[in-house]
Subunit: 421 residues, 2 copies
């Protein structure tokens, strides 16, 4: 079994890796990500798993032993994650959950286990939102939180519309599906998932502090993305007197500092990690600067207070700079609490005692499925440095194997009965 895990891990290692940084560029509907998609289909075939999915590219590979009811009749136990990455991301965020899911299937078969319900391994597309700005795009579509109407209007940072990115034939199929009504599409995935378990590399150092290889997620902080567009007046950087300018770079700069300060004071999180100036020339005062705020907090009130504080300070500075400000909410994910009984069962289910239970400030497909009413839970694997969304993201192989074993135990328990209750 360890061999299977490490062999699959080696398969994935070179795909989409930058020689310059060692980080990964696996943006959806680009060739590295399509290569991973094909790799997953080959893994499913090699294990005799039957693949279903939707036109957008979300996939579930089903293990349905003879005699077991199909997922359409008896919703299955599903595990999995995603294969896309942030720009210049790490190897583990996403792929660890998919590889561990396949390895858990191998381990259960080696144990001679036979599920009494369908057992699926899922891959969701565009979890990171690194290309179209919408995190968990695939799982939102699969659960009906977003429809093709909304998706078809999205563009990537080069201006490529999503329908062009997925290809004309796929876009036509998605359009036809939309015409047929969402019920038809959703029945293929959402209604087949009775319970969802996502294994993920931890994105902080809580498990290091607790000296545990594995932990269980209790929930996800509410979070969202807001696009702040500051508009000023383009001018010559040499000849225009400082007092005659309306420079949106200044308004952006003060807003980025204010967001950091507000989050520090409140014990929450706020980040401007992305900025785009227009025309972005050295000798030109910009006509506009756009910054994207990523904000997260322990509850909905704290998040609303944080975003409002940033907005207020940005507006005040815009008035001083002679610039204008418009804010658009690009995505918003309310707080998610995983099913408490499920969390307790998963945490208690191992020899060494209870796994630690912890919330996370990161969004995940499991959060989208939970919000859609599907009982869901997460397993985290220890990250020695806590670094994530960066080339240095890491987990040790022995910890990963404990993760596979914990996932197999969880799936075995859930798939031994016909309904989750």
């Amino acid at each position: 079994m360890p061999d299977d895990f490490e062999r699959m891990w080696r398969d994935l290692e070179p795909v989409g890796r930058s020689a310059a940084t060692g980080g990964y560029f696996r943006q959806p509907w680009t060739s590295p990500e399509r290569e991973l998609h094909d790799w997953f289909l080959a893994q499913a075939r090699a294990r005799d798993l039957e693949v279903t999915g939707d036109e957008l590219g979300n996939l579930v590979a089903w293990w349905r032993p003879a005699g077991a009811l199909p997922a359409s009749a008896s919703p299955g136990v599903v595990t999995g994650s995603h294969l896309d990455s942030v720009l210049d991301g790490g190897a583990y965020d996403g792929p660890l959950g998919v590889v561990s899911a396949l390895a858990a299937v191998d381990l259960l078969r080696a144990r001679g286990f036979v599920p009494r319900r369908p057992l699926g391994v899922a891959v969701f597309v565009e979890e990171e939102g690194s290309r179209f700005g919408m995190p968990c795009l695939g799982s939102r579509y699969a659960t009906g939180a977003l429809g093709w109407r909304e998706l078809s209007g999205l563009r990537d940072r080069d201006g490529v519309p999503l329908p062009d990115a997925v290809g004309a034939a796929t876009a036509e199929a998605l359009e036809a599906q939309e015409q047929a009504g969402p019920a038809v599409r959703l029945s293929r995935l959402r209604d087949q998932v009775g319970v969802f378990v996502e294994l993920h590399v931890e994105q902080g150092r809580a498990l290091v502090d607790r000296n545990a290889a594995v932990g269980v997620g209790s929930g996800i902080w509410p979070h969202g993305r807001w696009r702040f567009e500051f508009t000023g007046r383009a001018d010559h950087a040499g000849t225009t007197r400082m007092e005659d300018r309306a420079d949106p770079m200044l308004t952006f700069a003060m807003t980025a500092l204010a967001a950091n300060k507000q989050a520090r004071l409140a014990g929450q999180r706020a980040t401007f990690g992305r900025v785009e100036a227009v025309p972005n020339g050295t000798n030109v005062v910009p006509s506009s600067v756009t910054g994207w705020l990523d904000a997260r907090a322990e509850d909905a009130d704290a998040l609303a207070t944080l975003v409002e504080a940033v907005r207020t300070q940005a507006a005040a500075r815009a008035e001083r700079d002679g610039t204008s400000l418009s804010i658009a909410a690009e995505s918003h994910s309310p707080a998610v609490w995983f099913d408490p009984r499920l969390v307790e069962r998963v945490a208690a289910e191992h020899e060494g005692g209870d796994w630690p239970v912890l919330p996370t400030a990161a969004g995940h497909d499991a959060g989208i499925l939970a919000a859609a009413g599907i009982p869901s839970v997460m397993l985290f694997v220890r990250n020695p440095t806590g670094v994530s969304h960066a080339p240095g993201e890491h987990a040790e192989v022995p910890d990963c194997l404990v993760g596979v074993s914990a996932l197999a135990d969880t799936l075995e328990r859930l798939a031994s009965v016909e309904a989750t209750g």
Copy 2:
């Protein structure tokens, strides 16, 4: 004559213009700029002007009447400017000087004037530095301030090396020229220019305040570009606690605000108009942020003091943020004072009295030629709004025609004698 000016102006109007903004994108060695290059060659042919130039693409179209000495024997009177633009720039910065030069030749011929020295119309490449980050790239090469060795290492923002941008055949020719020694190349242009006059749209409102259609440049403020690279540590924007971060966006933001404040206090100019974050993802703390400082001041000491103040504040904030800072000077242009006798002659040369004389904070090819020891001077045409390097840049046709006439008068005076003295 007015017809000629307006006809040429209409030729240029659509080339490289963005339908979205109305601004111009005429970056060197892109198709709109090459189209302007070809247009200039056609204009020269239509006027029976003989074109010389260098491999990089700097051009001079010579009016050499029968009996006049060639420029290689008797350095000529040259006027002109450039045809490239900043990103999303205006129509006038550059092209007004080229079109006015051609219109001045037409006007002199209509007057029956015959020059006693060669009279040239010049176009320099990449004056704005909008693509390779080096302003006045063409005139620096033509005067020997920069050689092919330095140029061949430059890359544009997409990473395209300059030798690839100019094309393989041109790059080979430039390399061969370099091998032959700079003397051969320079003799073609620098040594042929005895005096240089550049007409340019004003980039401020000094002529509006003085109620004058035309003014004469006395000199150019010292100025330069410094690349500030702030390096931090990429991390997950949700899961990494604020106090555990090393976020270079904060250091950049504070530096942009500090530059503005220092320039305001000192009465000088400092701008961060260009910024690039890596990886520039919404849910990632950046690993690095690079900002470009454009700084200008009335004298060298004031400029050094300004840049040093920005550097000191950036370094102090980097320490606080746990980031590191490296600064590279990308270009530096010392103060230029145009030949005072030439300035006086040009300013006095019209019926209504003296044209106003004023310095400028903008760099120009005339400044590079002056620094290379060529007597040079500039004429400015009134800009009603003062807006420049932006789609709204403008000059009224009657003012442009006064500019053509002032330029023709100046050229007539300079080309009536065999040497400028």
